[in-house]
């Protein structure tokens, strides 16, 4: 790249190959070191995030256990293993929380859903999504209180035909310019409630989880 003539060895294929290989090795080493040094902190942050979002969907009053400790691995026939977090008071399960996934406008929307023993929604929060900023991201509690509208609803007090956005004849608001996002969220929450109803006896059984040792 400079105007000075390059030394002859730099014209050889071997030099180019070594250079490329050297940089690839250097990059791989740096990434490996980076990964090793950040893996533990990232896992810790993610666990903190998980606990923070769990405590948003399960009020502190209904449990006296550490929510991260009582985890039940629920494996259904077709689905992947689902982690269900049980909230316990004394020895009985008062509420459960589990992750649900909605199909949004731009990929999966991961959410956590908390359901009380009576089948009422205690809370729903979006964990990650890739929806359009300014449009679909109003499902986040930071941007709008839309998601709080699900609190207290259940399959008993809200008939199945109402579990749609208003555009589709249901009772939930869509956002101007973004219908696909709330439609997916409503559908996923409805499915979460269906799952809870179908597996109520197992989910609310305190003996199902072996309490993990606190780390």
């Amino acid at each position: 790249m400079s105007t000075v003539a390059e030394p002859a060895y730099r014209q050889r294929i071997a030099y180019h190959a070594t250079l490329l290989g050297g940089f690839a090795t250097l990059a791989a080493t740096l990434l490996l070191l980076g990964n090793l040094s950040t893996r533990a902190p990232i896992e810790k942050r993610l666990a903190e995030d998980m606990l923070a979002s769990l405590s948003q969907v399960i009020p502190p009053g209904v449990h006296d256990n550490n929510l991260l400790d009582d985890v039940m691995i629920f494996s259904d026939k077709a689905e992947d293993a689902l982690k269900v977090y049980q909230a316990k008071k004394g020895n009985s399960v008062t509420a459960v929380a589990f992750g649900i996934t909605a199909q949004g406008y731009a990929g999966d929307i991961k959410m956590v859903l908390g359901i009380g023993r009576d089948g009422n929604i205690l809370g729903v929060r979006v964990l990650t999504h890739a929806e359009t900023p300014g449009l679909g991201d109003r499902i986040e509690v930071k941007k709008s209180d839309w998601i709080l509208g699900f609190n207290g609803l259940s399959l008993n007090n809200t008939p199945a035909s109402h579990w749609h956005v208003k555009k589709d004849g249901g009772r939930f608001d869509q956002f101007s310019g973004a219908t696909i996002t709330p439609r997916g969220v409503v559908k996923a929450i409805k499915e979460g409630l269906d799952f809870f109803t179908a597996n109520k006896s197992v989910l609310l059984n305190a003996a199902q989880t072996e309490t993990k040792e606190a780390e």
Binding site: L19, L20, L30, L31, G34, P133, G134, K142
Partner: protein
């Protein structure tokens, strides 16, 4: 090669601005500038990567041959972006939750490869870092400007959610310019980004044409004063 620092500064911020001058990086530009705050976050993250890639490319420029430079530059940039991504996730988690979405997008920013190729590979580390910084700030300026115009027209606010990005101390930046404004959806969507960018570019050309005209008038006046006989 002799380097004029003032020239690097002006080139990065205005004359050769990544967006308004080189017309690069339009993909992340249109994707994130629906609000001014998003633009600011993306701009600052890109600036950090430009600075680091400018330094590393410049340090290794004696080793790298012309034949394999592109894969090596791409490797360096991708490594830096990934390290920034992991480091922010681990140690600046709150900021990562806001910016995390944008960081992988930086790899798609051809402007960073462009600066590595056209500047950092030919200059020593200090000018290369300054170039990275100035190009990054110029890019941030373009992102914030485009984001601000789109946000004002599209949703009637300015710097909404700035406190999420910069901390609670900056909540004074959040403004609602027109209360009860219904919003103009087209401007928020990607086609609106193209339209607004077009108008901004036209505005820049107009401004430059005016400045040039004025300069010529001044020169003509000077000539008149010096030798009035020639006219």
């Amino acid at each position: 090669m002799k380097v004029k620092y003032s020239r690097i500064l002006l080139d990065g911020l205005w004359h050769n601005n990544i967006v308004f001058g080189q017309m690069l990086a339009l993909c992340p530009l249109l994707a994130v500038t629906s609000t001014a705050t998003n633009g600011l976050g993306m701009g600052l993250a890109s600036t950090a990567v430009l600075l680091a890639s400018g330094l590393s490319v410049s340090l290794f420029r004696g080793l790298i041959t012309a034949e394999v430079r592109i894969p090596v530059f791409v490797l360096i940039i991708a490594t830096i972006v990934t390290l920034v991504d992991m480091g922010m996730n681990a140690w600046m988690h709150e900021l990562y939750k806001v910016l995390g979405l944008f960081i992988p997008l930086i790899v798609t920013n051809c402007a960073i490869l462009g600066r590595a190729e056209s500047f950092a590979s030919r200059h020593s580390p200090l000018p290369s870092m300054l170039d990275g910084l100035m190009m990054g700030l110029g890019f941030t300026f373009a992102l914030v400007l485009l984001g601000a115009v789109r946000e004002m027209l599209g949703s009637g606010t300015l710097f909404a959610n700035a406190s999420l990005l910069l901390g609670d101390g900056f909540s004074f930046m959040e403004m609602e310019l027109l209360s009860g404004y219904k919003g103009f959806l087209l401007v928020v969507l990607p086609p609106g980004g193209f339209l607004v960018l077009g108008f901004l570019l036209a505005g820049k050309r107009l401004l430059e044409a005016r400045l040039k005209q004025r300069k010529q008038q001044v020169i003509r006046k000077d000539l008149l004063i010096e030798n009035p006989a020639t006219t």
